[in-house]
Amino acid sequence: MLRRDFLNISIKASTVLGMSSVVPAISFKDTYDKHITILHTNDVHSQIDPFSSDHHKYANRGGVSRRYHVIKQVLKENKNTLVLDAGDSFQGTPYFNFYGGELEFKLMSKMGYHASTIGNHEFDNGIGNIAAQLEHAQFDMLNANYDFTNTILDGLVKPNQIYEVDGVKIGIFGLGIELDGLVPKSLYKETEYLNPLEIAQDQVNTLKNDYKCDLVVCLSHLGYKYKSDKIDDIKLAEQTHDIDLIIGGHTHTFLKEPNYVTNKSGRKTIVNQVGYAGLYLGRIDFYLSSGKDKNTKNSVVSL
């Protein structure tokens, strides 16, 4: 359960052997300055209680209160932690039918979630319900490719948010799936879907170049991988520059470990998704060092 893998993504990174899972990274502390932990869920689908003991597949698994216990443990280990979700926290148990998403958002707030994005099922009780339930959310609801201008969500959903954690600037933006054919128009109303690929590159440029973010994270509800040419997290990673991490959802994909996709800059974009219903809590750790931006080096050389 507490398997931990490390991936060298730069030449400078040292090889680490025999890491303790309880106290990570201490043994190579001198090789990095900052440690950022990202915890994540997706498609929790109102699974507030664990699955019942007679469930055919997931008996006694999941449950919000257990997840929060784990989150608190991680926070004790590293307070520099962001808690994120990739959408579809609504729909799936009577909690949603009875309370319309209120409890889901209240619990995410209590657990210290920093941000989530809008999944297609967030629209199940209409766009007006999203607006109403956001009053219970003390986290940011992020989406960059739905134009909400002519809807009740105008101003309530931000394209991105920058979080400064221990001096590290983390820019996070959200992407949502095409709603036409998936959600009745009567529910999403005048929401306009914009091309996620173009929007994503815009967002990365803004966060990386204008706001000088050290890390760029995308909360995506596009889906992990489609055989068709429909945009998915893998294609998104391949066809954009400089996204460090894509936390995906929608396809309920259980990844045992993240996928490291070579992006357009030739670097690695981490793509992860942890199934659904809160059966797992995903975790990605970033170990960062201060140093000159490599763009600077290039500029000097070109003189």
Partner: protein
């Protein structure tokens, strides 16, 4: 001299560039982990206490007795038409019709649901809110499609395949080769000169179960009524439910 100047320039430019650039952080390594949330992990007590009242209210509501079911009925009991399907379609006819009339001043002619949409059966005994949730766990809405005679005939042909799709206020007879012998709506033959109002679920309107004739609807009317809520209201209205299969859809030998 020139070389020196160049070096000085380089230094200045480098410093300027560094002031302008992100003197931030670069990723050296990443780590990954996936924690399974199982019963070996303790509950956070404060969060459990917060959830409790919400949970108890649902439990109370879900266990609320709405009616009594006299005959056990399950989706696969009988071919062509089933007790539970007949009940669902008749319930939609009974409760959606007044609502449709008050909104649009027209009457529903036919109700058509889909067999796959009956997600559970009903045992003999108390009918609870939970029962309605198990039969209809989805959030589908009742909608009314206005179909012309051509689309209605396509509907008859679709149904002639013989699957026990629930319907109400209509009767069908097919022969041994699944060919349509007779179709009546409200005990009348199809009138080619008029349109018909067919109540169904938004799932089928959107192409579910390939009921393509719904794609030809002249109009779609929304009555803002969830199928599950309709069932809950129906159960509350009835003291006892006692349904059986009948002759609304028969196949000749």
């Amino acid at each position: 001299m020139t070389v020196k100047l160049k070096l000085q320039h380089l230094l200045v430019i480098s410093i300027l560039l560094c002031l302008a650039c992100n003197d931030g952080f670069q990723v050296q390594q990443t780590g990954q982990e996936r924690t399974a949330i199982t019963d070996s992990i303790p509950n956070d007590k404060a969060l459990e206490d917060f959830i409790s009242p919400y949970r108890n209210k649902i439990k109370g509501e879900m266990e609320k007795v709405l009616s009594y079911n006299a005959n056990p009925m399950f989706p696969k009991d009988t071919p062509y038409n089933t007790a539970i399907g007949n009940m669902m379609a008749d319930a939609v006819y009974e409760l959606a019709n007044p609502l449709f009339y008050s909104k649009f001043k027209d009457s529903i002619d036919v109700v058509l649901l889909n067999h796959g949409g009956i997600r559970a059966g009903m045992s003999q005994g108390d009918i609870k809110t939970r029962t309605a949730f198990s039969i209809m766990p989805f959030e589908n809405m009742v909608v009314v499609a206005e179909l012309d005679a051509v689309a209605m005939k396509e509907m008859f042909n679709y149904l002639s395949k013989g699957k026990a799709h629930p319907f109400s206020n209509m009767s069908l007879v097919i022969d041994g080769n699944n060919k349509l012998k007779e179709a009546k709506i409200n005990q009348q033959e199809l009138d080619e000169s008029r349109t018909y109002f067919v109540a169904t679920s938004d799932y089928l309107i959107k192409g579910g179960d390939n009921m393509d004739f719904f794609q030809k609807a002249k109009n779609i009317y929304e009555i803002d009524y969830k199928l599950r809520n309709l069932l809950i209201d129906y159960f509350q209205k009835k003291d006892t439910i006692s349904y059986s299969s009948d002759d609304r859809f028969i196949k000749l030998k």
